[in-house]
Amino acid sequence: METAPLETLELPDGRHLLVFADGREVVTGVWRPHPHPVAGWEWLGGHRTRPRAAARRARAVATAPSAADGRAVALLESLLDAEQRRDYRRTGGFWVATPFGPVRLGRLYALVHRPIRRPDHEHVLCVVPHAHRELPLADIWTNLLLTLAVEPLEFFRVARLQQVRRRR
């Protein structure tokens, strides 16, 4: 018999994230257009208006790694320690230690911070480099990684708090 979720979180796009006691996470519902959380900005790629099959074909072309992506990933990986590199290659994200608690890079506009002062909570932050949309994604992580590692005060000074949630 299916167990009831431990927690249900409403996502910004109208869907729901169900968190179960055994660690499973399930997203339910239908995506709907929604505004970008940063005032004045738009989502990369815009909203989907084409039929699904056409969108899939287009995505297959668009997601092929470019030379710029390759350079950006190589630079980023050269700045990671061994554990961060393993994590990045496996999950696309990694933790960065700071005096204020670790921050996870890997999900644009939704960076998880585990504050030292609130060990049972997580903060979801939005921080991006200036004109970040012209950078390959790995360059964005390089930018945020160096800022966090060397000048964490500046990172937290500008960070926008999106959500506070209980740690799982």
């Binding site: 940063v38 961060q84 506009y109 991006v128 480099p129 950078l135």
Partner: protein
């Protein structure tokens, strides 16, 4: 040989210099000054060192192995 890496749409643009070549050092110093005026932020690191070993620099250091230029960050 020192290297500057400036994050951009190509991944990064690389500028190199050699401490034995005064002209290349002067050219790199000019790029450093220009990027500083553009409010970009330089972090120096020993060759191959992780981000935790990087340091923010304020003036051009011709003895640095690598200088990575990043952009100011902002929240929403």
């Amino acid at each position: 040989m020192g290297t500057m890496r400036i994050l951009d749409h190509t991944g990064d643009t690389t500028i190199t210099w050699s401490v034995d070549d005064a002209e290349s050092v002067a050219a790199a110093a000019r790029v450093f000054d220009r990027l500083t005026r553009e409010r970009k932020i330089p972090f120096a690191r020993p060759a191959g060192a992780p981000a935790a070993d990087a340091e923010r620099i304020r003036t051009f250091d011709a003895t640095a192995d690598e200088i990575v230029w990043v952009r100011p960050v902002a929240g929403g």
